[in-house]
Symmetry: C2
């Protein structure tokens, strides 16, 4: 009888545990040992903010599995409180401190080694951190969540440092517990992956729910004053508060990996399409490994539960099955709840496309979550990118959406289309489920296809909110909304001709344009598209504003409008 294969796993959350469970199903005899430095494995790390908010009431809900349940169901040997401190890939040995009291590591041999180390929260080396340590939290583990939930019961204010997903979720959670909450964000808006014209909805929602946002600011130091925590900011401001949550992003916890396991400059473990590292019989998975962006080709980390869980499974297949396939290049599809809003994204955004030198067109839609005539319909604000030229003409590069209902569905449908290599024509061709409570006969996603088809075949020509200054300098702005809408605020110098009057008043438009291009807009983009078709038929150089006044204001703010008559 051959000896049992010894498989060691470092890290018992998401990718590591997904691997271990799949490995057991494929090899009933292997000796599978999982080392986890914390006291819990396989916990619901994405649920931690909702334990802080009180929505998840029981700590036990966060513990999806325990070492005992994993032993019973899958014969896994899960060892918590075990800190792996070294790896010798030559001798195939892992060094493990088996308890907090251990003075020396124990050596474990392996046939196969899977690293799932994750990130650790670098509470950065800011002045004063040590002195105020008890007033600082992170939100990565179950004990973190328990501590923060407890603090939320007594504190009256808190600051969240970092406006990424965890930061925003933490701010929401603390605010919903009644604390005064400040949110400090390095860049111009929270959730930097989102475009400016969508992020403004998120900012508005946070502020409407009482979160005070400090944008373009970073913490520069910590101190105490009068029994409170003082966080100094790079913009010379300071925040006096009870407590701070550090959500500034993590550092790959990959120091244990020796030189034989190649890493990027940032410390990400470099893995191939099957999850193999550069060392023989060593594999890696999770937040701390490299992913290739399937749109731009960029090497990056993807700190998401879905890809980590799947990659763990696919590594087990590659290790133990004759039937396996490459782990797919993660699209980075993500979603976050921000009070009553959801914000979702898939694929590349405009910044990533520009950085990669990929030409693209952007389109904006404001659609209904379901039939507008059925109660409860909510606006879906959506941005999508696609290729207009070359071999990739019609390819979908990415999309983002914000709204109160149906965001996850639209992002998932587009993520599926991107994964399938589908084109905008195929978006138009989708047969989606429709009844008035659930959707529209022409769904937002199909509308992306229809509008993109119009762009590609020249039926429509878009102009973009980001180009407003240049467009205003060179063109006649034609506002085709009704007169009463125009009176609520309009662009300086705009000519108002409602789209229903345009056929009769074409001469007026031609005279006002005086040889300049005509750049039409309405509230959301539909009426000005109809106007555009009339203008084109009249021989004018015309374009219609992508997303209309809604996108324009979301991008530039209301201050660009005037109420003056021209």
């Amino acid at each position: 009888m051959p000896s049992r294969k010894r498989i060691l796993v470092v890290g018992g959350v998401a990718g590591g545990m997904s691997f271990a469970a799949r490995a057991r199903r494929l090899d009933n005899n292997a000796d599978i040992i999982v080392f986890e430095k914390g006291d819990e494995v396989s916990y619901a790390n994405c649920g931690l903010p909702y334990f802080v908010s009180g929505e998840i009431e029981n700590q036990s809900s966060l513990l999806v599995q325990t070492p005992a349940s994993l032993k019973a169901a899958l014969d896994l040997d899960v060892r918590t409180g075990h800190l792996v401190t070294g790896i010798d890939t030559e001798r195939r040995i892992v060094r493990v401190f088996e308890s907090l009291d251990a003075t020396e590591p124990t050596e474990f041999e392996y046939d196969e080694l899977v690293l799932s180390p994750g990130m650790f929260s670098g509470i950065a080396d800011y002045p004063g951190v040590t002195e105020v340590r008890s007033r600082l939290s992170t939100l990565r583990t179950v004990p973190d969540a328990i501590q923060l939930e407890s603090i939320a019961q007594s504190a009256s204010s808190a600051v969240v440092l970092g406006g990424g997903y965890i930061g925003v979720e933490a701010a929401e959670a603390l605010r919903s517990r009644g604390l005064e909450v400040h949110l400090v964000q390095r860049s111009a808006h929270v959730l930097t992956h989102f475009e400016t014209e969508l992020a403004s909805y998120i900012t508005t929602e946070l502020e409407a729910n009482g979160v005070v946002i400090h944008a373009n600011a970073q913490p520069t130091g910590f101190s105490e004053r009068d029994g409170q925590l003082v966080v100094a900011l790079s913009n010379d401001g300071e925040i006096v508060t009870d407590h701070a949550v550090i959500a500034l992003g993590g550092v790959p916890a990959t120091q244990i990996a020796p030189e034989s396991i190649a890493k990027t400059d940032r410390g990400l473990i470099i893995v191939d399409e099957n999850g193999r590292t550069s060392a023989p019989n060593v594999w890696a998975v999770g937040d701390a490994v490299t992913h290739v962006d399937p749109i731009t080709g960029a090497l990056r980390s993807v700190a998401l539960a879905g890809p980590a869980n799947r990659d763990g499974r696919y590594i087990a297949d590659a290790m133990l099955s004759t039937s396996f396939r490459p782990r797919p290049a993660a699209l980075g599809t993500s979603i976050v709840r921000v009070f009553g809003l959801a914000a979702g994204a898939t694929g590349a955004n405009s910044r990533e496309l520009i950085a990669a030198g990929i030409p693209f067109e952007t389109l904006h839609l404001h659609a209904n979550s379901h039939a507008g005539y059925f109660p409860g319909s909510e606006a879906i604000h959506l941005v999508a990118y696609f290729a207009t030229d070359g071999d990739e003409r019609g390819r979908i590069y990415g999309a983002q959406a914000v709204g109160r209902d149906g965001i996850d569905k639209r992002i998932d449908v587009i993520a599926t289309a991107i994964r399938g290599g589908m084109t905008i024509d195929q978006l138009a061709d989708l047969d989606l489920s429709y009844a008035p409570p659930f959707g529209s006969a022409k769904d937002a996603v199909q509308m992306v296809g229809f509008v993109a088809q119009n762009v590609l075949d020249g039926t429509t020509t878009l102009w973009q909110a980001r180009d407003l200054e240049k467009v205003m300098a060179e063109s006649l702005i034609l506002d085709v909304r009704r007169a009463d809408e125009f009176a609520t605020g309009h662009l300086p110098g705009a000519l108002n001709v409602p789209h229903t009057e345009l056929r009769e008043r074409l001469d007026e438009v031609i005279a006002a344009a005086n040889g300049r291009p005509v750049r039409a807009h309405c509230a959301a983009g539909i009426r000005s598209y109809l106007a555009h078709r009339v203008l084109v038929a009249a021989g004018l150089d015309s374009a219609t504003l992508s997303g209309g006044m809604q996108t324009l204001i979301a991008y530039h703010g209301k201050d660009i409008l005037t109420h003056e008559d021209n």
Copy 2:
């Protein structure tokens, strides 16, 4: 100057109006006349049941457009109350009664003709129909909905004849208005497109909300007795009620089409991939035209708003643009709300696959609408079909799902995957949006991919609820639930070994099997899959029940269970 092209459209709802609007955007000069026999165009026909229920409060909400708004925005000449009675495709002439008072039709010439006639409700030729006509309603037009809503205010009971989508929606609407509601259904369950094991959830929901279902029954005659309507049924029963809603399916309203426009035996107008009929310059769209099933190749009608609207658009492109593409073969994706449940489907079902001679495997899942540890998670009961052999190995053929949340999203994702020609591997590879309020790290749709991969590579072998009798006759049924679950009811003769004890109690299983195959099951299919892997490693002929006891009971009912000890 060339003369304006004259385009006539017969039927001003969905496909016809979608065509007309697109045609105007592509041709600013054409003379576009739309004839509609009713008083409204472009109305929300899918919203009619929700006007009856009172959820849509205002009649005006149902009127998406009016002739005046279509004239103003799109320069369309929309003529309501105009009944088209004849077409001469030789002379390119349509005959129209221009009002109810008209004694003779007026002739209109056309360059292009688009037919969007839809279906009419055949209130079938049952005995007594004429005498009780005022007690019978249909639900196809705005006046129908207004009438039925008015009746619902005074009637205390009603019967709905027909358990298709409109029938179920009408039953829900009337019940929600407080009426005693009977629903008569020709076949064994309502919504016959759904598999037995999903339809049972729908039946349970209807009955839980007080709808009395008469299955395997048809109306055979109508009469009045003591001021009430009596509906005689084919099963010798009768229903005494105030009112009846006829929702027995429609008949193509294509009698106006002459022989030069080819039709099927059922009366559907045969159209090509661009919507052209057999007569030159005559096109057709909507419920009354043929569609090719993209899975089975069958010729069928697709009475859905989405395909009708899109096909209208694509016909305009084919007629008026140099950039056009074939109308896609409609997948028939659909969804219906049944009180608190949603039931959705896309692609083929098992009956259609069997009829087409297409081999396939079925899998059942009971997944969570979002992370189980987050409040409000609901069960998603899902069935999927895929190809196991030949060139199509791994191809997704269809899916159905029932549940209280997230059904539309999963059906739409799978519908997108089918449209993209994706395989079950690509379902597993999807990057879907995940945060605890919205989904799971391994979403139901990805689980379809994972399970199907396991089937294809032999990691799992399924047995099906529909084969229960044969399986019980030939195999050891191994129930791997906990003892307390087993005690609540189990299959006669089943051996209970909880999956966590299976490794230690293998000898017991081998002895009980006594050379027979082992057919494992648990509650939902997950634990018995783990058990299956242990049984296979022990060299046993093993399989795991697709969907577990939940699917078994949904298919066969609870009466198959016993509480006796073995």
